[in-house]
Amino acid sequence: MGFFSDIFRVRADPQRQLLKFSARVSEQAVFEYWLHPKSVLPFVQASNFSEWQGTEEFKGKAVGKDATLGVKTSEGMTYFKMSDSHLWVLRAQLEAACFELGSISETDKVDTPSHITIDLLYTMQNKLQQSVEEMMTAQLENFSANLLAALDTRLSKLNVQPIVVQKPSVESQNISSDTPIFIPSKILQGGIEGNTEIKATESKDDISAAAEALKQLKNTRRKQ
């Protein structure tokens, strides 16, 4: 049976001289195992996981970036799938716990390979960044909610006058008749010498009848 896990926790129990290994396999399920330090020592002291390293009770192997952890239980071997970085993190946690129980001394510690260290640093950095982001997002959301609530309270107390938006009309851009406009005086100036040929015509009086009709029309309108 294999699980994909990215969260391990190792805790030392000095009274019982045992190691408690917890692996969260889903949001709802955590597997817990009590391990004897001796069963994990070969795993802790391994410097390379290209082959299975550890004991029959607790062993690990990494191929490329993928790693597998095997734990022997009463129901047989349980396998956890993870990245090689996580495997190295687990190894470091177990090493610290073994040191706490006195199972290994400072000199027995095995250095973690440098590329793994870098990977571990990145993993930790990412984790930290993620945590910080989550924390900040939560705080900002909280701040925003508080701010909006305060704003609503204040706005409800304001007496807002309705705004009348006047649509600009084309007519309003025109110059109204009472707009003063400068008209120059003395347009007819002296000192102009000239000669003009005017085309003069005369025609029979065809306007008297129209002038009379207009007069009648106006008189009728006045009487009405």
Binding site: I183, I187, G191, G194, I198, S203, I207, L214, L217
Partner: protein, 327 residues
């Protein structure tokens, strides 16, 4: 004595009633710069000119003729029906020309002078300055100056039989003025910024020719129903476009102003102005009107040309001036 004064982009015309006759005086509203040494020749040839300080300006029809000969554009004191702000000489030239056409009055005669309506297709323009300038010039000539719409003047001159009910078009050079009156009451007046100059300009651009030349071709005589060459074809094309443009605006304004209930019987259409003098203009207008007759909201009884297209506005203004003096 009453007098009517039509101030157009192309012509300035005055009209007076005297000895049972109507006397009109007309001068071409155009000028051309000439070198000062040409003055002697102008005097000998009795040409129209004016000189002030160092400027010598050839005036009137001869300015237009010279412009055609030398391939130059003639200068106008009015542009698109209104006082031209870009012409530094415009006020002086206008003042001089009006004084020559009108003459000075010693006893404050009544002078109705024409003004266009504000163009509906260019709302940034108005006629306030234009009206003020001519009011000042006519007053300085010694007259009692009264401004009146030029298209309405056509109705007073040409639609007495119909009780001054008509739709009139004044196809001028700078713009086209339109008026609708019913029983002498003004229903709508407006103008569009297209006229004879727009026709000349459009045809000139499409043919790569000076505008003055196209204007000359137009004025020499053109049959709009039978254009003889490419120049005339181009001019006819723009005439047709202008007619459609003004009819569109009449329909639009008539609908907008909801004049359906005001005009209770069909009214005649009267076509006037220098641009309407082209051969078969009335027929071309009828053709274009017939195409849209079914959709045209304003009931039309007939379409006819003014009896005297060049002088109709001045005569209409004279009728109003006489009426004013008799009141």
């Amino acid at each position: 004595m009453s007098v009517g004064l039509d101030i157009g982009t192309m012509n300035i015309v005055s009209a007076r009633q005297q000895d049972d006759k109507v006397h009109t005086r007309r001068i071409r509203d155009a000028f051309l710069d000439l070198p000062l040494h040409a003055k002697k020749v102008l005097k000998l040839s009795k040409s129209s000119f004016m000189q002030r300080d160092g400027d010598l300006l050839l005036l009137g029809d001869q300015a237009l003729e010279m412009a055609i000969i030398f391939g130059k554009e003639v200068r106008r004191p009015l542009s698109q029906g209104l006082v031209s702000p870009s012409e530094i000489h415009s006020l002086e030239v206008l003042g001089y020309l009006i004084q020559e056409v009108l003459g000075l009055s010693a006893d404050k005669e009544t002078c109705f002078f024409s003004i266009p309506a504000a163009p509906v297709d260019n709302l940034s323009k108005d006629v306030i300055y234009h009206k003020g300038v001519f009011e000042r010039i006519v007053t300085e000539c010694g007259y009692k100056a009264i401004a009146s719409n030029e298209a309405m003047a056509i109705i007073f001159a040409e639609a007495a039989v119909e009780g001054f009910s008509a739709l009139s078009f004044s196809f001028g050079s700078g713009m086209t003025n339109i008026a609708l009156a019913f029983n002498g009451i003004e229903g709508m007046v407006f103008s569009v910024e297209r006229g004879g100059d727009w026709i000349d300009g459009g045809a000139a651009r499409s043919l790569g020719s000076p505008q003055s030349r196209l204007c000359h071709i137009k004025e020499v005589g053109i049959d709009l129903l039978a254009p003889k060459n490419r120049d005339e074809e181009a001019l006819t094309f723009y005439y047709r476009e202008l007619i459609n443009y003004v009819l569109d605006w009449v329909q639009k304004e008539f609908t907008k102003r909801q004049l359906y209930n005001v005009v209770t019987r069909p009214v005649p259409v009267i076509l006037s102005g220098g641009t309407s003098k082209a051969g078969n203009f009335v027929h071309l207008f009828r053709e274009e009107y017939e195409k849209r007759k079914k959709k045209f909201s304003l009931p039309i009884s007939e379409i006819r040309a003014a009896t005297d297209p060049l002088n109709a506005v001045a005569k209409g203004l004279l009728i109003q001036a006489i009426n004013e003096d008799e009141d």
